[in-house]
Subunit: 347 residues, 2 copies
């Protein structure tokens, strides 16, 4: 009996709650949270459990990180850029316009010190954060009319997320905030001109193809958004070391899982959308270039005022050019040839 108390400590029973930013309808986002909680329960023989709550069940989707900071719950599955209004540094760890693609973010996060640097920032907010999913490049949204020039953006009533909306506003876009259920009727009536969401696998459930058929790529404001698991730093550090390690590994498995689910399902969903009438378009170089310049202007302003924005963004941009140079010389050479074979119907 002597050793029993120590042995019993090996796998203590712990239950946490995790609030998320995602409703059940965004299956890949929502289910990656479930993937984490299942993986954690399996790895600890059911001893360390995190209860999963969809957006709105405890707090609203955009308050997920706040709920952890305020001590309401121990964990959140959310996206850093939702909190950019507090400090734009929040957004850099997830995605800002013209940042890295998935391979770049993955390299920066895990081999380039990105996870650690973002955690230095998060520590100031009482949080620990680990990447918990990626969507790959998102689509640029659904439009009632074709958008060819920067002039076409002037006055465009566009339902678009916070940080991206702030950049697009400089090009004359009028960002709109509408609750989920109001979007479709607004698009139908024309009180809204366009809406962006994520990619085909999520977008097809929303039916926008019927009222705003022009479907643009790429979503240059989301080249590879990193979704995060945020935990209370105090609660995380109080865990036994091996529970910390198990949780970190489960987050990492979940991180990779989400991308796999999107990459497997997006192609099929896009083909179905085209059959339903989606008109695929790409943003013109003129629009992309103007958006790039506007983003850089804003980043320079933000870097002056926000130390952590500057630190994180400089860490990413120090790698960005060499990453795309290498991509072009090596990985792109393979993909480009495979795409050519595909165009020739040889695949």
């Amino acid at each position: 009996a002597l050793a029993a108390p120590a042995i019993a400590q090996e796998m203590p029973e712990i239950t946490w709650r995790m609030t998320t930013s995602f409703p059940k309808s965004t299956e890949a986002l929502h289910n990656t949270g479930i993937y984490l909680t299942n993986a954690l329960a399996e790895a600890t023989d059911g001893k360390f459990r995190i209860q999963h709550f969809a957006a709105g069940e405890i707090v609203g989707g955009l308050q997920a990180a706040d709920a952890v900071m305020e001590g309401t719950v121990e964990a959140a599955h959310t996206v850093g850029y939702y909190y950019w209004g507090k400090d734009p540094a929040w957004a850099v760890g997830s995605a800002i316009p013209f940042s890295l693609n998935y391979r770049g973010m993955n390299a920066w996060n895990y081999a380039g010190g990105g996870v650690d640097l973002y955690n230095e920032f998060l520590a100031g907010h009482g949080l620990v954060g680990f990447p918990g999913g990626n969507t790959g490049v998102q689509m640029g949204g659904w439009y009632r009319k074709e958008i060819n020039t920067v002039d076409d953006l002037k006055g465009l009533k566009f339902r678009v997320g916070g940080f991206a909306g702030y950049v697009l506003e400089r090009l004359g876009v009028v960002p709109q905030q509408l609750a989920g259920g109001d979007i479709y009727p607004a698009l139908e009536k024309g009180t809204l001109d366009a809406v962006e969401f994520t990619g085909p696998f999520d977008d097809e459930k929303l039916g926008f193809v019927k009222v705003a058929p022009y479907y643009y790529s790429p979503g240059f404001w989301e080249g590879a958004p990193t979704v995060h698991f945020f935990f209370s730093k105090e609660k995380f550090e109080a865990l036994p070391k091996h529970y910390q390690a198990i949780l970190r590994n489960c987050c990492r498995a979940a991180d990779q899982e989400m991308l796999a689910i999107y990459d497997w399902n997006n192609p099929k969903a896009l083909m179905r959308l085209v059959q339903e009438g989606a008109q695929l378009r790409t943003f013109s170089p003129e629009i992309m270039s103007a958006a790039f310049d506007a983003a850089n202007e804003i980043y320079a302003e933000m870097a002056e005022k926000h130390e952590w924005f500057k630190k994180l963004w400089e860490s990413i941009t120090a790698f960005r050019s060499e990453h795309y140079t290498y991509t072009q010389l090596v990985d792109f050479q393979y993909d480009y040839y495979m795409m050519q074979l595909n165009g020739q119907k040889r695949l």
Copy 2:
């Protein structure tokens, strides 16, 4: 004292041995095995340990999987295509020419049933396998002279891996097997015309740039080689369920880690190689097209004779075209624009 024996079972002490295919000099490959063993020890509070052995310490690098099948060790860190001589199906789970890129392999493995299907095949050999790393697109090797046409390949004495060599042989290449230390002098003397290895981060340590400066991309026979952890199926299944789960999660973290390390280090290494005199070249469309046709001829022959090759390759090719169509329409649009900005020195 009543409950003690059951509690003591929670985290039993287990020690395994893992032999690998990689010498210490191929840092990213070798260290990903170490990453796994460290992650596993941390996650089990040191109770479940795997001892890591570099290539040659227990068995040779190309006998790693055999050592598990024969019961010499419990685990191997290796690449499936090393064993293609037993059955070409082994290679499909890792990489064969003109297969998927990383995003495609990741989607197929984890969301498209690839891991499960490959494990059905591996079960016949007494193994369980989980992806344990990826290099991304590899380079196509170092050449003493420029290679422009299929004629230039005729009689080319090329040190190249087994499966790829078998395909290139149809184009007139004469694949060579040379031990590591013999390659450099053979290239210098001209008894060898070319050598392929992995990518810049590994290649720069070998110094081939001095004797064979033409450095070709892409390595179309390795679009995204999946490295694997293979375990004895019997031993894996005898583990407590939560140890199985922990080990699976650790493999998955290691899988993502290797890619991050390559993607972070390859760009820097390539730039150093260029400064040392590497002449970057890309294979001509003529060579790529002839290799694609030769590969398809061989795949048709293999599919007739080898049921598992057919099953695995059909599973991949059913996804391949839609994957590249989607990549071209969405992710490529982002990367292409970023590469343009980079070319204009705006990044």
